[in-house]
Symmetry: C2
Subunit: 145 residues, 2 copies
DNA sequence: CTGTATCCTTAGGGATACTG
DNA sequence: CAGTATCCCTAAGGATACAG
């Protein structure tokens, strides 16, 4: 069976991701959407990292252009804008989960362990259950293909 | 059982990662080390993305300071420097695999599918086998804790 | 070959004011 | 509240020369 060897990475599948994930603000915004359930401009702007409004607008446009989110009117309340994750963004969740597990293990700043870290250490299977529930919740929100 | 809820992300485990992964050059260098088996300054410099030497030196120092790699003399050939992945970096492989799978699915630039993409589509289990072999190969190289 | 150092230009991005 | 626009400064980083 042919499996990838070391010298066959001409079309390296990570270079593409580097353009989107390899940007601090895009990365944090995707986190906010996928993991924190944030959907509105104001919610993004209030993140503890303190993104400035021009950068926020710029990155929202970037992510929309990259097909990671869609900009729509809030179905519940007219004249209010919401950003929804696309399937493409949703599919990044497994990778994000991997990053979270890694950070939980190595981040020295996590003074009081977050509930994720706690439950993950106690029972990794609980993390899987959490992950799948998260997937379901986001799937229910994805509108287009 | 307590599992993470949406409003409990005060100690968000992704913010830490954003500082390391959320940088294009660090991201690509970690890819080179983990997936392309690159170990020397010249090998990094010759990557198709064309990193300039001052940035390369800067990021190698950053990654070393972050405990992601160690700088050592080549055991086989004296007076030649090599950079080895630490366990901390190695543990990022699962996340990187997730990113690769994602890119393989969505990167429109992947004109000729890489062997990874091909084998992954043909048989996902082959990817797992590839991944475990990769882990073993890197583990054999990790020197310190 | 493995880096360092310097120059210099551009882009990133914070602060803030402004608009619908 | 959801942005847009401007100002302005710093840092990122490309090119290149130099050193061990």
């Amino acid at each position: 069976m042919s499996r990838p060897t070391q010298n066959d990475w001409s079309g390296c599948p990570t270079r593409y991701a580097a353009g989107i994930i390899g940007d601090k603000w895009c990365f944090l915004l995707m986190r906010d959407i996928l993991l924190h359930g944030k959907r509105t401009y104001g919610e993004f702007a209030s993140s503890p990292e303190g993104i400035s409004t021009n950068i926020l607008a710029n990155r929202l446009a970037t992510l929309e252009a990259a097909g990671m989110l869609t900009r729509e009117i809030d179905p519940r309340k007219g004249s209010r804008v919401c950003y929804f994750p696309t399937r493409k963004l949703r599919d990044l969740l497994p990778a994000l989960l991997g990053i979270m597990v890694w950070s939980t293990k190595y981040d020295p700043q996590t003074e009081a362990p977050a509930s994720f870290a706690a439950s993950h250490q106690k029972d990794p299977l609980a993390t899987v259950a959490w992950y799948e529930a998260e997937i379901d919740r986001i799937d229910a929100e994805i509108v287009g293909t």
